[in-house]
């Protein structure tokens, strides 16, 4: 496990994090820094405050409280000393840093014409640590294959935040591209995969080159709006499987329909905890009514144990299983 994300913290915070038990450190999912309030880490579904020596506590008054100096340094380091290059990111409220990790930002927003233009006085940071877990899709992938027609089924993966959607997608892309097909018995060659990675999270691209292993036959459109990106992929890159993260707007749904009709398998994710939830969302309900997706996978998590349930297009339960590699490793 690489701890390359530690490099982005200022010295004072880094020292505390390095004092953590290594078992805990390797499973850190989020580090939350709020100016003048306790330093928090989330690991394996639980939260802890950190005290000055890197010890764990649950009492806010004992915890270390990052100073203005700390937050300034952190911002300076994550923006590569160049906040002015981050205007688009500040509008969206997060910065993706090398390694595919994502830093969410909170502070005072500056409006222009009623829309958020950027964030200033940034005082809250949520560092979400991206993990590459090979084999995260081992259990699920065999269920997503249409063996008769030798293709991947149109799949919508539903889960609340922090349940490993992105890690799962990354591993799906990798396995389909390599032709590994999970724990099943299928022996097909790899397929062409297209990833539309609006937030640079799936592939963790640096200068257009994926930072994670997403497979040899995979093309990535980095930082591209999903709807437009899907159309671009369909027109120019001829993927067999199209992978997108967090669809939700009307134009996303249109692009999905377009891809389905073009004979491309789509694997998409959305926030939600059940297929019923999705019906309530105007943009997505159409897709569900028209049975656009052949398979729904709903992820759930209790503490460190992860599982998924599969439903077919008519929302009948097909399968429920524990997911993830042995040991139930945490993935964010």
């Amino acid at each position: 496990m690489t701890l390359n994300w530690l490099g982005l913290f200022p010295e004072s915070v880094k020292r505390m994090l390095l004092n953590l038990p290594s078992e805990l450190l390797e499973h850190v999912e989020e580090v939350r820094i709020r100016e003048e309030r306790p330093l928090e880490i989330n690991s394996q579904g639980r939260y802890h405050f950190l005290d000055r020596n890197g010890g764990l506590t649950l009492r806010p008054e004992e915890a270390y409280k990052p100073t203005r100096e700390d937050t300034h340094r952190l911002l300076d380091l994550i923006s590569n000393h160049s906040l002015y290059t981050m205007e688009e990111e500040l509008r969206k409220g997060f910065i993706t840093i090398p390694g595919g990790h994502r830093v969410g930002l909170a502070g005072r927003t500056v409006l222009s014409g009623g829309k958020v233009e950027h964030i200033r006085d940034i005082s809250g940071f949520n560092v979400r640590i991206a993990k590459e877990i090979r084999g995260a899709a081992d259990e699920m992938l065999p269920h997503l294959l249409d063996r008769k027609r030798k293709r991947v089924m149109h799949t919508l993966i539903l889960s609340p935040p922090q349940h490993g959607k992105t890690t799962l997608l990354r591993d799906l892309a990798r396995q389909i591209s390599y032709g590994q097909w999970g724990a099943g018995t299928v022996r097909w060659p790899g397929m062409k995969v297209g990833i539309v990675d609006e937030r640079s999270e799936i592939a963790g691209c640096q200068r257009g080159v994926p930072g994670f292993d997403v497979g040899p036959r995979t093309d990535v459109l980095d930082g591209c709006p999903k709807a437009e990106g899907m159309m671009m992929m369909i027109r120019s890159m001829s993927p067999d499987v199209l992978i997108v993260d967090e669809i939700g707007r009307a134009e996303d749904a249109e692009a999905v329909v377009e891809a389905l009709h073009a004979g491309i398998s789509v694997i998409a994710t959305a926030h939600g905890s059940s297929v019923q939830d999705m019906r309530g969302r105007p943009a997505l309900s159409g897709l569900i009514e028209n049975r656009m997706f052949e398979m729904y996978a709903v992820l759930s998590r209790t503490g460190d144990a992860r599982s998924f349930k599969l439903y077919d297009g008519g929302q009948r339960t097909l399968q429920s299983a524990a997911s993830g590699p042995p040991g139930g490793d945490a993935y964010a």
């Binding site: 490099g7 200022p10 010295e11 340094r73 300076d76 923006s79 000393h81 160049s82 205007e87 950027h118």
Partner: protein, 172 residues
């Protein structure tokens, strides 16, 4: 005989010191000009190129002459992730390392340190304002430096020679 050699040495030393002083007066406006141009390039890199600060400094350093070249290159170097320094610290450390090798004075250094404190910490428009302000202050210094040059450059040269001569006369 020995006395004569000693006298010549003293006069020679005085003259050289005078020339060195004159050289400082001549070089300071030139370096200031170069620094102003460098800041203008930085402004362009930031406002049109969206170039991250370390890359921008490196590019600018490539077009400069020493000692400013090393100053900018060193600042970019300190900004690398393995140093873990903020932009402000990187620039301050680079100034500490290389300022003595320039002919510029403390007023300019303060301008640069102030600029270092805000570089990279705000949006483009704000950055441009800060850089323009710094360039403006440096221009004032440059004018003053040119006046000094006109007044003192020749004088320093003759003064060196004369002081050398004076010492010789006093010792004899």
């Amino acid at each position: 005989m020995l006395k004569l050699v000693g006298a010549l040495l003293v006069i020679g030393a005085g003259t050289l010191a005078g020339f060195y002083q004159a050289q400082q007066f001549a070089v300071r406006p030139r370096q200031l000009r170069e620094l102003i141009l460098a800041l203008q390039r930085l402004e362009t890199e930031i406002s049109y190129g969206f170039t991250p600060l370390p890359d921008a400094l490196e590019r600018i350093s490539a077009s400069l002459r020493d000692p400013l070249k090393s100053l900018f290159a060193q600042a970019a170097q300190y900004m690398r992730p393995d140093y873990g320094l903020s932009a402000e610290d990187s620039i301050r450390k680079a100034l500490e390392d290389y300022w003595k090798r320039t002919s510029m004075k403390n007023a300019e250094r303060e301008v640069m340190e102030q600029l270092g404190g805000v570089l990279g910490t705000s949006d483009r428009q704000d950055q441009m304002k800060h850089i323009a302000l710094a360039a403006q202050q440096l221009k004032h210094e440059e004018e003053a430096a040119r006046d000094d040059q006109a007044k003192y450059e020749k004088m320093s040269k003759s003064l060196g020679l004369l002081i050398g001569a004076l010492i010789v006369i006093l010792i004899f």
